[in-house]
């Protein structure tokens, strides 16, 4: 656990991005999570992604539910508004926030208990609605904050720290996201920042429901032999399908992986994602094939990671609702109130 305050002074030589911020400007409060917690690596990846994308921190709204994962928005983007809402209900709060102002970037941070157990309903419906958001599940298969109970993503047969073997089927969030219409679906590992940062960047750029399942080991309660969400297990079973290397118009992100075939994916808004494929038999723009691909590998005990699916023609909830371009929270009585003449006409029709 980190309890020493970070020095506020920044090194003057720290590189600034094009909007004038150093990477430190994207940090938040000191994390109160356990030393080595996978979640802190995810926070660091969010910081890196936002800095690299030249996003002004205050243009992001961070929303979360309850649990260790849901505490993390306090630990990144300290100049963004954050909302630690109700257990399992972040998606609805994020939906409302997004409706009120379509111009901000919405980052929903949740955990496997928060999203797969208590929050499975809201997770599902947020995906269905195509809300323009980055939805990150920090997935450790365990309830950390209440000390080690299984969550709904714990694999069948995996062992808890107390030696109990889980007999329930795991809930497959990637499978559900694909089934429910998410238009950007990725999985990564908190221990693989090089893979994770571009995936977060891609998700931020994507206009639609972007879901990233990040396996993030719980060092306190789920990092032992017999766990399928431990650092060791995930490193051994990680099967990356591709590397998201480039984003059009942005600086190249170098990856230290062997080059493979490069695929350009043009999105609805004209932005281009460039994928370096590592697996020849996976097409990330085919939803049905991706579902099969992920399931086949899961059956072999492999955790498939990378950008698993992207719908380049995705549109978001606001397009479905045909809302005005101006954020709803900026409309005034002039635009909203029909006034007395209209009311007189209504009265006349009611006599």
């Amino acid at each position: 656990m980190t309890y020493i305050a970070k020095p506020k002074l920044h090194h003057p030589a720290l590189t600034k991005n094009s909007v004038g911020y150093t990477r430190r400007d994207y940090e938040g409060k000191i994390s109160t999570l356990c030393a080595g917690c996978g979640h802190d690596s995810i926070s660091a990846a969010v910081v890196q992604a936002c800095w690299e994308l030249d996003i002004q921190p205050h243009r992001v709204a961070k929303l979360s539910g309850i649990g260790c994962s849901s505490k993390t928005p306090d630990y990144f983007l300290g100049n963004s508004h954050g909302f630690n809402s109700v257990h399992g209900r972040m998606p609805s709060v994020l939906t409302g926030a997004n409706l009120a102002n379509r111009e901000l970037i919405y980052m929903g941070v949740s955990g496997d208990g928060d999203s797969a157990s208590i929050g499975i309903g809201q997770f599902a419906h947020a995906m269905r609605r195509g809300i323009n958001m980055v939805y990150i599940v920090e997935n450790n298969g365990v309830y950390g904050l209440t000390k080690g109970q299984f969550s709904a993503t714990a694999d069948k047969g995996s062992k808890s720290k107390r030696g109990i073997v889980n007999s329930d089927e795991p809930l497959d969030m990637i499978g559900m996201a694909l089934l429910l219409g998410a238009t950007y679906v990725a999985r990564s590992f908190s221990g693989d920042k090089k893979q994770l940062v571009p995936l977060i960047k891609g998700a931020i750029e994507h206009k639609g429901a972007a879901f990233i399942d990040v396996v993030s080991p719980c060092v306190a309660f789920n990092n032992h032999a017999g766990s399928t969400k431990s650092y060791e297990y995930v490193r051994q079973h990680n099967e990356a399908v591709n590397r998201l290397d480039f984003i059009e118009g942005r600086e190249e992100i170098t990856a230290d992986y062997a080059p493979g075939e490069v695929v350009n994916v043009t999105q609805h808004d004209g932005s281009v994602l460039r994928l370096r494929k590592l697996s020849a038999d996976h097409d990330p723009t085919d939803r049905i094939k991706t579902m099969n691909y992920v399931q086949e590998h899961a059956a072999k005990g492999e955790v498939v990671t990378g950008l698993l699916f992207i719908d380049p023609s995705a549109v978001d909830m606001h397009e479905h609702l045909n809302t005005v371009a101006t954020p709803l929270n900026q409309l005034t009585a002039k635009e909203l109130c029909p006034g007395t003449p209209a009311l007189e006409r209504i009265n006349a029709g009611l006599r």
Binding site: K29, Q56, P57, H58, R59, A61, L63, P73, D74, G78, N79, S80, H81, G82, F83, N84, S85, V86, R89, P91, S92, V93, L94, T95, G96, A97, N98, L99, A100, N101, E103, L104, G121, Q122, A124, H125, R129, H318, L321, N322, T323, V324, A325, L328, N329, L331, T332, A333, E335, L336, C337, P338, G339, T340, A342, L343, I346, N347, L350, R351
Partner: protein
């Protein structure tokens, strides 16, 4: 045989099968009487079902404008064999039974003390129409035609309504004219017209409008500037959200683009609906949800968050009987306690009590100002009786010069000028802090929203003093709310009165009538209508000024009485409950009966005169 004789003062009840198209014919009948300048008060009594179950439509014709339910039936239009016996039983002695005599019924099915009017409706329909659906639908119009003759109504009023309704649909218009004439002519030629009860042209409707409370509240939300609505279907509130959709499509499109200046989401449940509402409120939109008691129960956890995190949201509760499989199509005022103190922890909420559609409009619009000014959930406590029945009320009014009160929102400019921003800092002493919208300023004004583990600058804190400071400030804020909610309305008796009566919401029309009836009986009662919670000081003063105060409510547990006792430290013995909770709207007869009996039982009768006085 006795025949009830009355002009413009009687009750007609239609007993139908739901799904038979009777609802629109019955409403046509009510509207036609209105067009003759005579106030009516119709009520739907319907099952939680779409087709095949009994449904009733009760129209009180009331020249004096008493819009509460009267009780008793003068003319029964018995169109449902399933409920025949009960319907016949309900008619007052000397009253009238109108029925379809296409098939003969045994004498035992009738009563001796009522007047029976048979008309072969099915026969007429079968000989006129070949299509089964037409036979069914026009049967309803045919009986309206017959009633117009029996009650001496002006057929031109009905024809004018048809003309308005079927503008541009000539074929439909003509076929309705035909059916109406068919019924009317048959009655004039074969039945004794008119009956002892009659409609006579009057001028008592004036500029009043005829609308249901749910539509009125929806329109109030449009005028009040709501941009986000999230809801989940539940009787009796669904039509509120659906009206909002309709009004927004008419009134809220951006002129050039046709794009929506609103966003409406049908949530997957009530939890999501209130969550969406809270998210939008947090982000600076005026947002609301509409539901009924079971929905409020589901929303409880979120309501507490909104209270402690101080997020403006409006919740419209169209009350009904509980629980979820309770009396969804019957009216009650039984959610008052569960809304006033909704959620876990120490919470209390602002409630508004509209009496009719006019106040549904006014108070819903006002609720958005209150929610943003007070940064808290605000509940509009309507009910099925107001919400789902068309009611005559004052026309809607709007002051175009009035700006929305967006409350204390710290702007980019204020932050830039160096304002000290503490999200939960009571700078003005009224308990209301400043808030910022997300995205306001690159470096200043951002904060992390959470429940109560925070200090006045929204920094994480679990310390006792910070907690106490925060929740004590919320009490100060509730005091501030007291002066902002709609204030009570006093109706002073014409003569000095020992007794007072408190009432609220949909009890209002029955109460007005009851007070008049009581006064005629020499029982004078001062009355005060509660319109908001927290209760205004005036309500406590009213109680203090009377040795006994009736509290008239439509719930079993005297919910508002309990709140008055707790919040005002009032001796419960001073408050006398008058409680009506069978799911039907309260009547003046019920109130008069309870109040007069209580007063009679507690009045000392001087031996010399023997005269009972109040």
């Amino acid at each position: 045989m006795k025949q009830i004789s009355a002009i413009n003062d009687f009750v007609v009840k239609f007993a139908n099968v739901n799904g038979s198209g009777s609802a629109s014919a019955n409403e046509l009948f009510a509207r036609a009487i209105l067009r003759m300048g005579v106030p009516v008060s119709p009520r739907n009594i319907f099952p939680s079902n779409i087709q095949g179950l009994p449904t009733w439509y009760e129209v009180r014709v009331t020249e004096s404008g008493y819009l509460g339910r009267r009780g008793g039936v003068d003319l029964m239009v018995a169109m449902n064999p399933q409920t025949w016996d009960k319907d016949v039983q309900e008619i007052q002695a000397g009253g009238y039974l109108f029925y379809d005599n296409s098939k003969p019924l045994p004498k035992s099915k009738f009563r001796d003390d009522i007047n029976v009017i048979g008309m072969p409706l099915t026969e007429i329909c079968n000989s006129t129409y070949s299509d089964p659906r037409q036979r069914q639908l026009f049967k309803n119009i045919i009986y309206v035609g017959a009633l117009s003759a029996l009650l001496d109504m002006d057929p031109a009023a009905i024809e004018k309504l048809f003309t308005e309704q079927y503008k541009g649909k000539e074929a439909l218009l003509q076929s309705n004219f035909k059916a109406l004439k068919l019924g009317r002519d048959y009655a004039l030629q074969n039945l004794q017209c008119p009956l002892g009860i009659k409609v006579r042209r009057a001028d008592n409707v004036g500029d009043k409008i005829f609308i249901d409370g749910n539509s009125a509240a929806a329109l109030g939300a449009v005028y009040g500037g709501a941009t986000v609505c999230a809801w989940y279907p539940i009787t009796p509130s669904s039509s509120l959200a659906e009206s909002f959709i309709g009004y927004c499509q008419r009134l809220r499109k951006e002129p050039d683009s046709g794009k929506a200046r609103y966003a409406i989401i049908q949530g997957e449940d009530e939890l999501a609906s209130v969550g969406i509402t809270i998210g939008a409120g947090w982000n600076g939109s005026r947002s609301f949800t509409t539901t009924s008691g079971p929905g409020i129960s589901l929303m409880n956890e979120f309501i507490g968050l909104a209270y402690f995190a101080e997020i403006p949201v409006v919740l419209i509760d169209v009350q009904r009987g509980g629980p979820s499989t309770g009396m969804p199509t019957r009216t009650q005022q039984s959610d008052v306690l569960s809304c006033a103190y909704a959620s876990h922890g120490d919470t209390k909420h602002v409630l508004l009590f509209p009496e009719d559609p006019k106040e549904c409009f006014d108070m819903t619009a006002q609720a958005f100002d209150l929610a943003e000014r007070l940064q808290t959930p605000v509940f509009v406590m309507t009910d099925l009786d107001i919400g789902m029945n068309t009611r005559l009320c004052a026309p809607f009014q709007w002051d175009d010069s009035k700006a929305y009160d967006r409350g204390k929102v710290m702007t980019y400019e204020a932050l830039e000028a160096g304002a000290d921003f503490g999200r939960y800092n009571d700078v003005d002493g009224d308990g209301i802090p400043y808030r910022t919208y997300p995205g306001t300023h690159p470096q200043l004004g951002a904060y992390f929203t959470r429940g109560t583990t925070k200090d006045r600058y929204a920094r994480y804190s679990e310390t006792g003093p910070d907690y106490v400071e925060n929740v004590t400030r919320l009490l100060r804020k509730f005091e501030t709310a007291k002066t902002m909610v709609p204030q009570p309305v006093l109706r002073q008796a014409k003569e000095p009165a020992r007794y007072g009566a408190l009432y609220y919401g949909s009890t209002s029309p029955a109460m007005q009538e009851a007070l008049d009836v009581l006064a005629e009986q020499g029982i004078h009662v001062n009355a005060m209508r509660i319109r908001g919670f927290p209760f205004a000081d005036e309500i406590n003063e009213f109680i203090a000024a009377h040795p006994g105060v009736f509290v008239v409510e439509q719930n079993r547990d005297a919910q508002v009485k309990g709140m008055l006792v707790n919040e005002g430290q009032i001796d419960p013995k001073r408050l006398i409950s008058v409680l009506h909770y069978d799911g039907t709207p309260i009547t003046a007869r019920f109130i008069v009966d309870h109040i007069s009996k209580h007063i009679a039982a507690h009045t000392v009768v001087p031996i010399k005169t023997g005269r009972v006085s109040a």
